[in-house]
């Protein structure tokens, strides 16, 4: 990228409309680079009592104008292009998670190469997916009845029926489910991906009330079919978003309107390719979204109906029960259920009290772990290969970097192969902004991401293996670039912090005990993190995590242990090492 590539846009405004909160970002050329300048955030006004998105949008623009001291809008909209006096912007870009996700059911009979790319494509298009594979054996075991009931409750708006190879036993079951589900009346469209008789049977099953069409897997490649359906669903998403007030705001917008999760996914993949990282990004905002990418692969897991706002009641009581594992105090399930229900009816409230913050942090882990579990279902080795974990704005709003770092480690809950994982926060939601910007100008998006998007929390060195709690897990020393050196030792089952300021680098030598290892290295092998693998400091410092995996496994002193971990990362207890020359 050269500076000349980025001169077309002097400034850009990016709107991000969410169901609870909306945000506006001002980006501008600053000293030859495209930078994030200001952000405004306010409640979305699409619902009652306002029922007009434009009211909140006007408020966002006023906030931006007040912050930057320049005019951005006139009565009839955003001033475009930017005037000589600096007023206005050169373009408006939009992403949104406002519309309800389209509910898509994927019913599979037999095995088909289409399923994997199709599911990936559907998830990018702001959808809720119900995916089942019909059993191929002779005995049904009540499968059709159970799936019919579940599917009726899901109320699919679109059904995709895939008949792959060896569908002889499974297809009649899928057909039965389809026939019994169409009576609910929620299905508007259907696609049958099959050949010959299976295609005919599939189309007939939907009846006359459903707009059904067929695609032959012989004439089209799987990727082509997936792309077609993704396009169709994206159109449905955009049509659903296009309320009159939304259309009015985006009338002068540049580029295509993306869903927030899709925009973040684009950047997540960019980070993996550009920096050769294996990265996981977790966003909890209008649903929970976990993105994983390596330099040559990537996937997205999305659960649109579970989050920390109104969607918190999307958690099951079992999730809530398990959330006790992450609390630094004893709490009853009844108390937590009451907490969840009160949050669900007043989703906009902000936790201020330490107890509320701790409960929100515990539930955040449960929510994120659900999405992460989806990732591991399709990419079983994703987490152990991961070397960068990014938390979205939900992790930043606690204003406790240490707690955020620990939450991210607990969400991943794996010993990384390399032993080290970097932790970062996308505090302002700039990954979504970069994603939308990337559809117009990838170079500008790269600028914004590299300069402004992430706050580095620190690196975590994860010690694998386990013996009795309190036994020595590792010793080591840290050599600062200033020439200072500090020694440390970490006990099994604990978390310790080594101070290292943001941007500062250090060489770390870790000597694990006989039954412990640094990540996937051999047990007892000393690992030196130097040169290219040099450790970079962050808001928290370096975390030496010697807890046995899975971290979710609780025991009788669990609350006390969680408190110790939180005290360590939040700086309540002194760090494991003191710097001395």
């Amino acid at each position: 990228m050269t500076d000349n590539d980025t001169l077309d846009y002097e400034s850009l405004l990016v709107a991000d409309f969410g169901r609870g909160q909306s945000r506006a970002y001002l980006l501008e050329q600053v000293a030859g680079a495209f930078r994030f300048v200001a952000k405004a955030e306010a409640p979305t006004t699409a619902d009652l009592p306002f029922e007009d998105l434009a009211i909140g949008w006007a408020q966002l623009l006023r906030q931006l104008e007040w912050t930057t001291g320049r005019a951005i809008s006139l009565r009839d909209g955003v001033i475009q292009p930017q005037a000589a006096n600096g007023d206005g912007v050169d373009g408006l870009l939009v992403c949104t998670s406002l519309p309800d996700p389209v509910r898509v059911a994927v019913l599979e009979a037999g095995t088909s190469p289409i399923t994997t790319p199709l599911l990936e494509a559907i998830k990018r298009a702001h959808t809720r997916v119900f995916h089942v594979v019909a059993p191929g054996g002779r005995k049904d075991g009540g499968w059709a009845a159970a799936q019919t009931e579940a599917l009726r409750q899901f109320r699919p708006e679109m059904v995709i029926l895939i008949a792959g190879s060896n569908h002889a036993e499974a297809l009649p079951r899928v057909i039965q489910v389809v026939k019994q589900t169409t009576v609910v009346g929620s299905i508007a469209r259907a696609v049958v991906i099959a050949d010959d008789q299976a295609q005919e049977h599939g189309l007939t099953a939907f009846g006359a009330s459903v707009r059904a069409r067929s695609i032959s897997p012989v004439t089209k490649q799987p990727a082509e079919i997936a792309a077609d359906l993704e396009r169709e669903l994206l159109e449905a998403f955009r049509a659903r978003a296009s309320t009159p007030d939304f259309k009015h705001i985006v009338a002068g917008a540049t580029g295509e309107i993306l869903s927030r999760a899709h925009a973040v996914d684009l950047v997540n993949r960019f980070v993996a390719r550009r920096f050769g990282r294996r990265v996981v990004t977790i966003g909890i905002d209008d649903g929970v979204h976990a993105h994983w990418a390596s330099p040559d692969d990537g996937t997205l897991a999305t659960i649109p109906n579970v989050d920390l706002g109104a969607g918190i009641s999307g958690l099951t009581d079992r999730d809530v029960e398990e959330a006790k594992t992450w609390l630094p105090f004893e709490a009853s399930t009844d108390e937590l259920i009451t907490w969840v229900l009160n949050r669900a009816i007043r989703p906009w409230t902000l936790p201020e009290h330490p107890r509320d913050l701790a409960i929100e942090q515990a539930l955040t882990r449960q929510i994120a772990r659900r999405a992460i579990a989806e990732i591991t279902r399709t990419q079983p080795l994703a987490l152990s290969a991961c070397d960068l974990v990014i938390g979205g704005p939900a992790f930043a709003r606690w204003n406790q970097p240490g707690a955020a770092a620990l939450a991210l480690l607990d969400c991943i809950d794996a010993v990384p192969n390399e032993g080290v994982v970097d932790l970062a926060l996308d505090q302002d939601g700039l990954m979504a902004v970069s994603g939308v910007l990337g559809t117009v100008d990838p170079a500008l998006a790269s600028n914004v991401f590299e300069y402004d998007a992430l706050i580095h929390l620190g690196s975590a060195v994860v010690i694998g293996g386990s013996t009795h709690e309190g036994d020595l897990a590792c010793r080591g020393e840290i050599h600062y670039e200033s020439g200072e050196m500090a020694q440390f030792s970490v006990a099994a089952g604990s978390v310790e912090i080594l101070p290292l300021r943001p941007g500062e680098t250090a060489t770390l030598v870790v000597r694990p005990e006989r039954r412990f290892s640094v990540g996937g290295n051999a047990a007892g092998k000393t690992v030196t993190l130097a040169d290219e693998r040099k450790i970079i400091g962050g808001l928290v410092g370096i975390i030496i995590d010697a807890r046995s995996r899975s971290v979710a496994n609780g025991d009788k002193n669990r609350a006390q242990k969680v408190k110790q971990w939180l005290d360590a990362v939040n700086g309540v207890t002194p760090p494991a090492a003191r710097r001395f020359a």
Binding site: L48, P49, T349
Partner: protein, 380 residues
């Protein structure tokens, strides 16, 4: 969504201009026109009875084959049943097994393939206005806006169908638990005001005596859940809006409208809310309990209409963060506490963290707190 949704008005108002949106599901036949004056009994729409019908899985509950269900019915299809009346009965050895009607209504049909009966609640799909007022506009077949004048209290969570009846305040103080000894047969048809909360046993007693509604400060989740059919093992399932459902618990709660004014837990009712209900003791009130916090927002409302004031202009007010305004705190740590605004809104920036709009509040116990605007509601 915004604080004080969905009206931008304080939670407690008197002699006020009110707009009630009656939303309908399905494809109803609208029976009124814009400009028409409505009495509470006036039928405003008629829906297909099957739309709101309750599915009663008789074969499952009796443990018999679906084709045998017809023989076990107490009365033929088309008959009316009272809530709790025996719908079907069979013998299991020496004992009788029965299925009762979960709601008063008409037995519409019996699906012999599954052994499930359809019971249409109430009066066969006819929807009365419940509230006196003037039809402002008719939004196709979806909704009707009714303008009325009166007092209104906004709740926060509710279950059940809209009901009408005289207000009966049983609690002496807003923090009292409603006791079984307070439930008497003369509560038939009444909307009962408890204090902080009521147990499942007390609520069952209210159903038995024929009360139409119950207003308390809080809901105890376990108590409410024990009243409802256990359709799932997940305790949170009841409180989700499922696809296609109009409101929280839409398909579960029948027979009694329940409203909590403060939230979940044994929470005392706000004194201003309690005072309003006491003031209108014995007056005809209407409870709209539907609650929905995603998509089309709905919040429970208790309205005491003033039919004689319909030809006059009521007051109009907007909830505003002004000094002296009565507020309640709604974040979990302070839920149930109340006070007055003691300053003007300002912005707090925590280091590099997010900016938060905050305000000072003087609590009723004299303590002064600085709280985010998001964590309070303007009561009056």
């Amino acid at each position: 969504m915004n604080v004080n949704y969905p009206h931008r008005e304080p939670l407690v108002v008197r002699n006020h201009e009110l707009r009630v949106i009656r939303r309908f599901s399905g494809d109803p036949e609208i029976r009124v026109r814009a400009g028409e004056r409505l009495s509470p009994e006036r039928i405003i729409a008629r829906t297909d009875p099957a739309d709101g019908a309750v599915h009663v899985p008789i074969a499952d509950q009796l443990g018999i084959a679906p084709q045998d269900v017809a023989k076990s019915l107490m009365r033929p299809i088309g008959s009316s049943f009272a809530a709790g009346e025996v719908l079907a009965r069979t013998r299991k050895g020496l004992r009788s097994v029965v299925v009762t009607a979960p709601v008063a209504g008409v037995l519409l049909l019996l699906d012999e393939a599954t052994g499930t009966a359809l019971l249409a609640p109430g009066n066969g799909g006819e929807i009365p206005a419940l509230i006196p007022g003037d039809v402002e506009f008719v939004d196709g077949r979806q909704a009707i806006s009714i303008r009325t004048v009166g007092a209104r209290l906004l709740g926060i969570v509710g279950l059940g169908e809209p009901v009408r009846g005289p207000l009966r305040v049983l609690a002496n103080k807003p923090d009292e638990e409603l006791q079984a000894s307070q439930v008497t047969p003369d509560l038939h048809g009444a909307i009962v005001v408890g204090g902080a909360w009521a147990s499942a046993a007390v609520i069952r007693q209210l159903v038995e005596v024929g009360a139409t509604g119950l207003i308390t400060g809080g809901f105890i989740e376990k108590e409410i859940a024990s009243l409802l059919p256990s359709v799932t093992d997940d305790r949170l399932a009841l409180w989700r809006v499922t696809p296609g459902a109009r409101a929280i618990g839409d398909e579960y709660m029948r027979g009694l409208a329940l409203v909590a004014t403060e939230g979940f837990g044994p929470l005392p009712m706000h004194p201003a809310a309690f005072a309003l209900l006491q003031e209108y003791q014995g007056r005809e009130a209407v409870v709209f309990p539907a609650t929905r916090v995603v998509g089309q927002l709905l919040r429970p409302e208790i309205i005491i209409p003033e039919p004689d004031a319909l030809d006059e202009d009521g007051q109009t007010t907007i909830a505003a963060y002004v000094e002296g305004a009565a507020v309640r705190l709604i974040d979990q740590a302070y839920l149930g506490q109340h006070g007055v605004i003691a300053g003007v809104p300002r912005r707090r920036q925590c280091a590099d963290g997010p900016a938060v709009d905050i305000i000072d509040v003087e609590l009723s116990n004299g303590k002064r707190l600085t709280v985010p605007l998001a964590n309070l509601e303007i009561v009056a």
